[in-house]
Every structure is written in structure tokens, then in C-alpha cells.
């Protein structure tokens, strides 16, 4: 039997050695390469990284949404049981019932031919014992909960009659219908403008508190992370390169890539300063060499970086880094 890794607190979700690969075994393209992280009850974990770093794929693999020809390996313990080894019926009970997910593009993630109300009631039908009248009442309640005004009349609207922010709220209402313990949010605010983005993030935080959920928030926006998350895992080229409490990482990053990311955030105050960026491009999946994937772009690089992929190790309490030069990085 597979057991969840022992720890002080029992994590809700525990991902171990998650790996997603495409292509043929001979020419394998590894998009997610041995990702480990835990999600504690009631915690908001941020998963940050640039496009192609494997963060969305990681999230989708948790619920076994990634289909062949992609090959998924590793273990995903959900309250002690490995989702990767569950029977299909069991996975379906976890999906929606215990773990819910919301998507980046709320328009395309809602079924255009069903009303919002029908889509909420459908989830209630699948995962609760409520009768027809109960489902209707609960659906209105859920729309109220996510802050859709005049919910009683809007419930029979189709998704195209909603604005972008309202669609994302509706999407959240559908996801919450079955009282999930964990919400996976795949760039939930990327498609929205800044004011709506702020409202949606506040909504997610309020729901987390009121419903005692955990949240995994995938984003490329460090501002969103700073505003919302308790802990942060930074991904680069399919690996977690640094993980720890948001405050610690923002105060003192311990990986050269995280440092580069934080430095590239435009700061208020100093006007007309050039934006600093990380030189070079992320590596192609087909172009992975033996060592640290960030080494070709890293200002702290030493010869050892090219020898082997540095493992993610604890460098401070609750704080892990996969950087050989983390001490030097920390001194910056």
C-alpha cells in the first residue's frame, strides 16, 4: 500500500514525483519533471511560473485530466489515497465532489447551450441528495454566495448573457455546488481586467475562509500571488525550483530564477525605469541538458550547475530551494 509521506500535519493533497511526458519513449519530451508539493487544509498554495513551465499541466494531472498520448507518472495522495491508482468511479467521486476546478477562460469553460442554473443544478444532482426544489434553492443561494446580483432572475440566463467577471463567478458557483474541500484554480483571473481580477481573488479568499477550503492557484502573476497565497511554489521547465511561505520568498528568494522573476516585477515609485528582465529564453522541451535548466540564463552559474539537476532541498524551516547557489542568491 502507498502511504502518504509522514509529516507533522497531515496534508490534504500531497503530490510526489509527478511527471508528464509527451512524444515517443526514444524522443521523450518531459513537460512536468518530478514535481513534489503538499497542500495543507485551509491553505492557499500559489503555483507560479512562466508560460510552458508546466504549471497548468501539473494542475490538470492531479485530477487525471491529461489523456494519452501524454504519459503521466508519480503519485497524488488525496487524504492519504493515491488518485493515480483509483478506479474510474472513485476518481469521478473525487472530481467535483471533493476537488473542484475553475479555468482561465470562463466563457469556454461554461457550456454555451445550457443555462447557468441548469449547470449548477446538474452538479448538485450528481454530487448531493437534494431534490428538485432543494437544488433550485441551493443554486440561487450559490449565485448569491459568489455575488451575482438579482440571482433569482439571472439563474435562467445563458453564459453569453453574462459579462466576463460574472461568468467566472458563475463558474465558481458551479464548482462550489458540491462543497469541495480543494479548489484548483487555473489562472482564474488572467482573462479578466484588473478591477474584476481583484474582486474574483477576494471572492476566492472569502470562500476559502467561509467554506474552509484549500486552494491551489496557478498563475504567472506575482502580484496575484502576493495578494492571495499563503505558500508559493515556483516552477521552471517542469520542476519546482523553490517552495516556501510567500512572505519569506518575497523577502528573500533562495533561487536565482525566483530572484529574476521578482526583479522583473515593475515597481511603483521610480518612474520611467527600464523593466528588468531575465536574459535568454526558457529551454525547449526537446533541448534539456543534464544540469539545472536555468543555468544558461543564470547570473550565479557555477560549473557544478551543469553536472546534475539540483534536487529540491530544505534550506530553512518550511523553505525549499533547488539552487546550488541559494546562499549567494539570498545575500542579494
Amino acid at each position: 500500500m502507498n502511504q502518504a509521506p509522514a509529516g507533522g500535519r497531515e496534508p490534504l493533497l500531497s503530490v510526489r514525483g509527478l511527471r508528464v511526458a509527451f512524444g515517443t519513449p526514444r524522443h521523450e519530451l518531459v513537460a512536468v519533471d518530478g514535481v513534489d508539493f503538499d497542500v495543507q487544509p485551509g491553505e492557499v498554495l500559489g503555483l507560479a511560473g512562466e508560460s510552458g513551465s508546466g504549471k497548468s499541466l501539473t494542475l490538470r494531472s492531479i485530477l487525471r485530466l491529461v489523456k494519452p498520448p501524454a504519459r503521466v507518472g508519480g503519485e497524488v495522495f488525496w487524504r492519504g489515497r493515491d488518485i493515480m491508482r483509483m478506479a474510474q468511479a472513485e476518481v469521478r467521486r473525487v472530481r467535483g465532489g471533493e476537488i473542484a476546478m475553475i479555468f482561465q477562460e470562463p466563457m469556454s469553460a461554461l457550456n454555451p447551450v445550457l443555462t447557468v442554473g441548469m449547470q449548477i443544478r446538474e452538479n448538485l444532482e450528481e454530487h448531493t441528495d437534494l431534490d428538485g426544489a432543494g437544488r433550485q434553492a441551493r443554486a440561487v443561494e450559490l449565485l448569491d454566495l459568489v455575488g451575482i446580483p438579482a440571482s433569482k432572475s439571472r439563474i435562467d440566463d445563458y453564459p453569453h448573457q453574462f459579462s466576463g467577471g460574472m461568468r467566472q463567478r458563475a463558474m465558481i458557483a458551479i464548482a462550489l455546488a458540491s462543497n469541495p474541500r480543494l479548489l484548483l484554480a487555473d489562472e482564474p483571473t488572467t482573462a479578466l481586467d484588473v478591477t474584476i481580477q481583484d474582486q474574483i481573488l477576494k471572492l476566492i479568499l472569502r470562500l476559502r475562509r467561509d467554506l474552509n477550503m484549500s486552494v491551489v492557484l496557478v498563475t504567472h502573476d506575482l502580484g496575484v500571488i502576493a495578494q492571495t497565497c499563503d505558500r508559493l511554489a515556483v516552477m521552471y521547465a517542469g520542476r519546482v525550483v523553490e517552495a516556501g511561505p510567500v512572505a519569506d520568498i518575497f523577502a528573500q528568494p533562495r533561487h536565482a530564477y525566483t530572484l529574476g522573476l521578482l526583479n522583473s516585477v515593475p515597481r511603483g515609485g521610480a518612474l520611467r525605469q527600464p523593466l528588468s528582465s531575465i536574459a535568454g529564453q526558457p529551454p525547449l522541451l526537446s533541448d534539456q541538458q543534464g544540469g539545472c535548466a536555468f543555468a544558461p540564463r543564470c547570473p550565479f552559474v557555477v560549473p557544478e550547475c551543469a553536472v546534475a539537476k539540483p534536487p529540491l532541498v530544505g534550506i530553512a524551516p518550511m523553505h525549499d530551494s533547488a539552487c546550488l547557489q541559494h546562499r549567494k542568491v539570498a545575500q542579494r
Binding site: R60, L63, L65, V91, R92, R93, V94, R95, G96, G97, A100, M101, F103, E105, S108, A109, L110, N111, P112, V113, L114, E122, N123, E126, H127, M171, I174, A175, S178, L184
Partner: protein
Amino acid sequence: MTFATLTSATISRAVGRRWTLIIGSILLGLLILVALVPGFFTSYDPLAFDYKAIMQPPSAAHPFGTDNFGRDVLTRVIWATRIDIQIAVFSTVFPLVFGTIVGTLTGYYGGWLDAIFGRLVDLVITFPFLVIVIAIVAVLGPGLVNMYIAVSAIGWVFYAQLVRAEIRVQKQSDYAAAARVLGYSEMRLIFRHLLPNSITPAIVYWMTDMALAILLGSSLGYLGLGAQPPTAEWGVIIADGKNFMSTAWWMSVFPGIAIVVAGVTFSMVGDGLADLFRRRR
């Protein structure tokens, strides 16, 4: 006042954009009405011979004239509507339903099921449609029922192709992923979420296909392979009149016009629906 102008403007804009659908639907309604109660529109018997009135040109008593047995052509064209609408429906309903189911399943599951289906499609589209239908009817024997069988045996393939292509697109969509994430069963995902989003092209094609079915039914009737004389069917009536074209043009021309009207009606409804659905997207 303002309200009145506003609403009339709104209505005229709605009509202006959808006139094909509106006119097509009105014509289709008329056709169905004629097919349901043909006796209401004419007092003659479509099969009764009248040797006192043979091959009379159009007149007040016989607006479309009479044929070589003295039958009223208008009456026969009206009664034929029932048979031809029946042909339109019966030779397309099975292909629509069966083709949609096959297309949905092959599109969603792919794999060996899809491979077999693909070869079957290749096989069917290698033959000209009319030729293969005629071949099947020739084997089974002439008649309407055998024509339905022949058309259905081939026609479902086209619906299946349309639905399959659409399902393959839809199953990659975010809302399909969302439905999977909500823990819905595959059957629910396929038939409640994917199919309603994929069936539009098939419905539009269905309308066109009904027009084609009427043409096909008439062609086979004309060739003596579909409805059998003395049944009033547009193709049969045209065939009856073909030997008298130089002396009694009305015998073939009026059923011909009826075929054109029916074909245009179904095409207009099909086009109108296609437009409507496109705008919805």
C-alpha cells in the same frame, strides 16, 4: 409613439436578418398542412378516371388541367405532397438518428471504432449516391419502403461524418474538461454536454437532405423504382406525362414546379437555421 417606432424597427431588423428562415418556415408549414389534409384543398379524387375530361388544358374547373385518364392534375399534385413529404421524412429520420449516434461515439472514443468507421465512409463515398441507391432498390425490388431502406443504409454515413468532426472539436473544449472535473459520467458528458453543441451542422444538413430526398424520391418514382403508379407522387406524375409533353405540357410541368417549391422550401429553412445558429455562436 417612440415605443411603437422602436418596436417596429426592432421587428423589421429581426425579420430583415431572418427572412429566409421566416419565408421558408411559412412555406414548410403550408406544405405540411397540404400533406396532412389534402382533401381540404381539392374536391376531386386523385385516382378517379374521368373519360369525359381527358387531357384538358388548365381552366377554371381544372387549374392545372387533366391528364390522359381525365384525372385532375392539381388534385394529384396536392395528394402527392403527402407522399413526398413522407419520403422526405422517412428517408432522413433514420440516417439522422443513427448517424448522429455513430458519429458521436466514433468522434468521442476514436480508436479502432473510428478506424472501421473511416474505412466504411471511404467505401460509401466511392460510389455515386444515386447509383448505389438504385442498385440496392433493384436488388430489393421497387417500392417506397425499399427506397427508404436503400437511402437509410447509405445516408447515415454523412450525418455521422458531420457529427464526428464536430464532437472531435468539442471534446477538446474547456467546458468538456470542466464537466470531467465535475465528476460527470462519460455518457452525461457526451449526450448532455457535447452532443447539443455538436448537432447543429447535422440539423442544417437534415433540411437540405430532405430536399435531396424529395428529388431522389421523384427521380426514383420517375424511373419506376420508387412510388408505383397510380399512386400520386410528383416524380410518378411527371413520368406519366412525359409521353404527352408536346400536346399536354401541364401534366409534367406542374408537378415539376411542386418539386422545385418543396426543394426551395427545405433549402431556405436549412439556410435560415444555419444563419441563426451561426449568429448564436
